[in-house]
């Protein structure tokens, strides 16, 4: 038994396994969004009239969400710092802030979706104001699939945070705070790409 215990610490590489695995997962996720963003960009370059559609997105809510996500990334860094000092209470507090940030993001997003759907911009239908112009409807398809997939990642990140909060309350898996933080930064990073592409470029 002792040989086994000894061996497991004999990894040639000092990067912890969880962190290594997560880096690869993040790289994989970025490639998925990369494919989407590339497809969107190529279409956007082909159809300059999409900028009229992009004018209907709310830059204010988009910017607000960017700030919210950036702040939640800051709080998760503080949670990681606290976890490194083995301060469970503080780590939990900061992680709660992050989860709240995610929640605010999702609320903003639902308000935004509601407005857009009320204006007639849905996943499939062309805008009512531009009836007959089917080409423009694809902007909204891309808008919903990109922000929707991103929001699913926000939800996934929040669920992971809550699970890890429960775990560290029991005093185990404190190192996972860092992993949740890494994932959250990735979600943040993807949004940094989506925000200018969908909201600013008009």
């Amino acid at each position: 038994m002792s040989t086994k215990q000894q061996h497991l610490t004999l990894s040639e590489n000092k990067i912890p396994e969880g962190r290594l695995g997560l880096w690869i997962l993040i790289a994989g996720e970025l490639v998925i969004f990369g494919g989407l963003i590339m497809s969107y960009l190529l279409h956007r370059l082909r159809y300059p009239q999409w900028s009229e559609m992009a004018a209907h997105t709310s830059t204010f809510i988009g910017a607000l969400n960017t700030v919210v996500l950036l702040c939640s990334s800051y709080t998760v860094v503080r949670a990681h710092e606290a976890a490194q000092k083995l301060d469970v209470a503080k780590a939990t507090r900061w992680m709660t802030c992050t989860v709240l940030g995610g929640l605010i993001f999702l609320i903003d997003k639902s308000v935004e979706y509601t407005h857009e759907i009320q204006e007639g911009f849905t996943f499939t239908s062309p805008s009512l104001q531009h009836s007959g112009d089917y080409v423009n409807s694809l902007f909204w398809s891309y808008y919903y699939i990109m922000t929707g997939l991103h929001s699913l990642h926000v939800i996934a990140g929040m669920v992971v945070m809550i699970i890890i909060m429960v775990q560290i309350k029991k005093g185990k898996n404190l190192h996972r705070v860092e992993l949740a933080g890494m994932y959250w930064h990735m979600v943040d990073l993807i949004w940094i790409f989506l925000f200018p592409l969908l909201y600013i470029a008009k």
């Binding site: 061996h7 004999l10 590489n13 290594l20 690869i24 490639v31 494919g35 499939t124 694809l138």
Partner: protein, 574 residues
């Protein structure tokens, strides 16, 4: 030892096991079962091609739409549910941990989940045969508009569309990708972090290197297709227009997303099988592998090139001729690293004391057949020739000459080589040789003549040429008939293998005989046969490279990797 005395229930030991060896075997067995399904589909439409319109034994009459669905599903199953689980997940799980000298994968639970997601994906695919409308029949590449909501339905019935053959196939493929991604993360993390003491990167066996390179190619090329599949699914069930040109979408986008993954996938399947060859050839030539490090570098070069050549599948899709030239050159360049790898295999055999055992026969058969596939690939890589031969049986024959040796010869070489180690039992060598010769002969009988049919212009998606009175296929029907008879015999000769497998499994274990029957130097042969959960009693320490054969004065004329002493690594002298 705590591990060995710990009794696990049957359920935990064989079904929901986290042991890498059990998971590897689960993947392989699932692959064999799916190969049975894929082979049966092939038999049905192969028979229909030779005897169009006639009733097929064991099946009955084949409707044209069924023909399409069967061809499509045959391709899907053989690539994603046979090639991938057997070569990447099966071999990766069985070999990586034990060959680098550790007890298990880095994330055993993720590993178990990976298999069960794969299992569900196979069930989803098989279910698609039984939904109204049948399985998807638009070709395994799933090009829109065939795959996009039955001619781009703008207001599909959500649930009806979700349970159509098309959506189920997209879902099955997506689930399979998730499973393989989980497996791939495991492979790479395990290899980076859990190597035995002394197992430096350049002391790892080639197969471990190649499995990791294949996993990395897979993980970094599949992303855009995952996004694309999500978009295709929405086109089907919600009615979006991502691939609908009337709404500004583009069907060619799917071709790019598909082949950006689809071409690297070829190397995902090829590299593990080449890795198996790199393990087998030195053992039975009793020589160190020629050019160990250059092989690794060549494989890395091929990995980089593999993501730059995808559009050679689209030469007739209206691609700009200047781009086509770029992709032609890239495609032909990619033959250089593989020619290098094959050359080093030849050089390994050169002057060796060759032992024609069963695994060695499969390995050499692989090289012989893959040569034909690879060389015809050079023709097709040139856009001028490809426009002529596109979608004919020349293409189909070309990729069967690459994928069949790759998946089946590679797999059988691995099975005959590692079976004693992982089961503690031996396979019958005479039956193995019979199996090899039957497979080799009937495979060539099935496919070689079809090159000529392809050059004559036989299209890959036409089930019955009698409907086309202007095209005279009559002189080529003889070749079709020979091909069909050989295909049936090819499938039947696999029963020799199954018989051999089951009779061997019924024998009692013989740990002494199977500990290191081939006098091989890599770490898995130093473990017990079969290796227990946890693999090694005492964790091995590594002192040398994996291929130190023909060392003068040694009993086995080779040094196992864990034998202490100065290394004979002569890689630097090459």
């Amino acid at each position: 030892m705590e591990m060995s005395t710990h009794q696990q229930s049957f359920w935990n030991k064989y079904i929901f096991s986290t042991d890498h060896k059990v998971i590897g075997m689960q993947y392989s067995i699932m692959g064999i079962i799916m190969a049975g399904v894929g082979g049966f589909l092939a038999y049905i439409f192969r028979y229909n091609l030779a005897y169009p319109g006639q009733s097929i034994p064991l099946f009955g009459h084949l409707a044209p739409l069924q023909y399409n669905a069967f061809v499509t599903c045959h391709g899907m199953i053989m690539v994603f549910w046979v090639g991938m689980p057997i070569l990447l997940s099966g071999l990766g799980n069985l070999l990586i941990p034990i060959m680098i000298g550790t007890d298990d994968m880095a994330f055993p639970t993720v590993n178990m989940l990976s298999f069960w997601i794969f299992f569900v994906s196979a069930l989803v695919l098989l279910t698609s045969f039984f939904v109204p409308g049948g399985a998807f029949g638009g070709g395994w590449t799933m090009y829109p508009p065939f795959s996009a909501g039955g001619y781009l339905n703008r207001n599909p019935d959500f649930f009806k569309a979700l349970f159509s053959g098309t959506s189920l196939m997209i879902l099955a493929v997506a689930l399979e990708f998730v499973a393989m991604l989980m497996g791939g993360i495991n492979f790479v993390v395990t290899t980076i972090n859990k190597r035995a003491k002394g197992m430096t990167a350049f002391r790892m066996p080639i197969v471990v290197w190649f499995l990791n390179i294949a996993s990395l190619i897979f993980m970094f090329s599949v992303g855009p297709l995952v996004a694309g599949a999500f978009m295709l699914l929405l086109d089907n069930v919600v009615g979006t227009g991502f691939y609908d040109p009337n709404r500004g979408g583009d069907p060619i986008l799917w071709e790019h997303l598909f082949w950006f993954f689809g071409h690297p996938e070829v190397y995902v399947l090829l590299l593990p099988a080449l890795g198996v060859l790199a393990e087998i050839l030195p053992v039975f030539a009793r020589k160190p592998l020629f050019a160990y490090k250059p092989i690794i570098y060549l494989a890395l070069v091929s990995a980089v090139l593999s993501v730059l050549v995808w559009a050679h599948h689209q030469f007739v899709s209206g691609i700009d001729p200047r781009m086509a030239t770029f992709f032609s050159i890239g495609t032909i360049l990619i033959s250089i690293p593989f020619a290098g790898i094959f050359l080093s295999f030849m050089a390994t055999l050169w002057g060796g004391s060759i032992r024609m055992t069963v695994p060695m026969m499969w390995a050499i058969g692989f090289i012989a057949l893959f040569l034909i596939g690879g060389l015809t690939g050079l023709f097709l890589g040139s856009n001028t020739f490809d426009i002529y031969a596109h979608d004919t049986y020349f293409v189909v024959t070309h990729f069967h000459y690459t994928l069949f040796p790759d998946v089946f010869f590679g797999f059988f070489a691995a099975v005959y080589f590692w079976f004693p180690k992982f089961t503690g039992k031996t396979l019958n060598a005479a039956l193995g040789k019979l199996h090899f010769w039957c497979t080799f002969f009937f495979f060539n009988g099935t496919w070689f003549l079809l090159f000529f049919n392809g050059l004559h212009g036989q299209h890959r998606r036409i089930n019955d040429y009698s409907s086309f009175s202007l095209i005279n296929m009559e002189p080529y029907m003889t070749f079709e008939k020979i091909s069909t008879i050989c295909a049936i015999l090819l499938i039947l000769s696999q029963f020799i293998f199954l018989y051999n497998l089951f009779t061997s499994l019924a024998k009692t274990k013989n740990p002494e005989l199977t500990k290191n029957p081939w006098h091989s130097a890599t770490l898995e042969w130093t473990a017990d046969s079969p290796p227990p959960h946890g693999n090694f009693k005492v964790y091995p320490e590594v002192y040398r490279g994996p291929y130190e054969y023909s060392v003068p004065g040694e009993v086995d004329d080779c040094y196992a990797q864990n034998v202490p002493g100065p290394s004979f690594e002569n890689n630097e002298n090459l």
